[in-house]
Each structure stands twice: as C-alpha cells, then as structure tokens.
Symmetry: C2
Subunit: 134 residues, 2 copies
C-alpha cells in the first residue's frame, strides 16, 4: 500500500518536471533553472544560501545551476558585504522574460491539475505537507 503511494509521488514528480522542461525548451531553460529564476522574481536579490534554503536543496546543486544561469545571462552575481556571500539577482533581460515564462508554466500546471477541483488541490497540498513530519 505505502509503496504505491511513494511510487505515485515519484512518478508525478517526474511527470511534472518533464512537462515543465518541455514547455521551457523554447526559452532554453530547464525546470531547476526556472525554480531559481522564479525565486529571484519573487524575493529580489538573494544570497545563495537563501536560495538553497528556500528550495530545500543542497548548496552544490544551487552553485551548479547558478553557474549555468550566469553563463547564459539570466542572472548576475556580485560579492556580498560579507565576502563569503554572493548576492544573486535577475539580469535585465531576464526581468523582461520572466513574466512570459511564468505564464507559460502556469498553463502547464493547470493542464496537469485539470482533473482536480480547487478543493482537491487544496486537500492534496495539505496532505503532502504532512509527509515526513515525525
């Protein structure tokens, strides 16, 4: 029983990443890159630590993705007041593109969730949040 549950979570996680990646192709982006761009759009300038804490991933994962985003001019990094920190920001061109991309991603998500009512979506998120709270 429980096995089916994790099987299902795992599969839907992969499915949503796949569809998001597909939609992001036209922007030459990947889902994890988008996660960071969205994060920066929401919160403005952030340290790398703030990013990986918010996304709940390890620091090296963020380092790697930021390197790619920097290389393709989606983000800009500068030294922090604390010289160990690096402050990350959307580039000017990213600022104009992000709203368009956001709209496209929203469509994908709505498609994936079209079989669930608003109430069911709320319910699902509440149940998911309960996982791992021991």
């Amino acid at each position: 029983m429980q096995k089916l549950l994790f099987h299902e979570i795992h599969q839907k996680s992969r499915l949503s990443v796949k569809e998001v990646n597909d939609a992001l192709k036209e922007f030459h982006l990947y889902s994890s890159q988008w996660s960071i761009l969205f994060c920066l759009k929401q919160f403005g300038e952030m340290t790398q630590k703030e990013i990986w804490q918010y996304l709940n991933v390890e620091a090296p994962t963020v380092t790697r993705t930021l390197m790619r985003l920097e290389h393709s001019d989606w983000i800009v990094r500068k030294e922090g007041e604390d010289k160990r920190e690096r402050l990350v920001q959307l580039s000017e061109s990213a600022k104009t593109m992000v709203p368009q991309i956001e709209k496209r991603i929203q469509e994908v998500e709505e498609g994936l969730l079209s079989s669930l009512s608003e109430a069911e979506q709320e319910q699902l998120i509440e149940l998911l949040k309960k996982i791992g709270n021991h």
Copy 2:
C-alpha cells in the same frame, strides 16, 4: 498556488528518496536499484521492457541500473526466446536478502507517513493519481 503544489510534490519526492537511500546504505543499494529488485520479487522473471513500463521510466535508465545490479550480483540476465529481449531475474543471494530489505523500507515509509491516518493516505494516493489525466 499551483506552484506551491508542485514545489511540495518535488520536495517530498526528494525527501522520500533520501530517506530510503539512507536506509539502503547498509545493503549497499540505492533507491532506484531497490525499485527494480522489488519489482522482480513481485513479478518474477521480466524483460527489461516490462520493467521500464511498470516503473514508467525510460529504457536507458533501466539498462544502467541493471548493469550495476548485475555487477554486484543482485540480478541475473539471460537471452530471451526473442533474441532482442533480455530476461531479468533475482540472483539466489538476492532472493534471500530481499525480504529483509523490504521490511527495512517499510519502516522508513511508515515513519514518513506517521502523521497521516489510513484514510488520509488513501485520499492522498487518489488525488495524486488524478494528476496529469487530461
């Protein structure tokens, strides 16, 4: 709103993989390898296609994981009647280990789900199944 939902699925998926990997360390196994061993325990001899279809992953993913499992003597492969196919089976030593591992994994899963009632677990799986059915 919807973003939080996928954010949550993604995170819980990673969390469960992480905890399962941690439990599997003592057996020198990884979660995806376990998925295949469990599959073979349930269904007996399978072709690689049957495995990737059941797990809903791509063929190369299974090829790679099976190579590792074969190398560490968890599985055995032989040519099928159709010579393009390869029939996969648990090794003799795997057959004796798998029940022990299964028990350990069950504990992990129960821990992760300990905040949810049986009814909530059922509900969650039903809602997850609805994702992507357009």
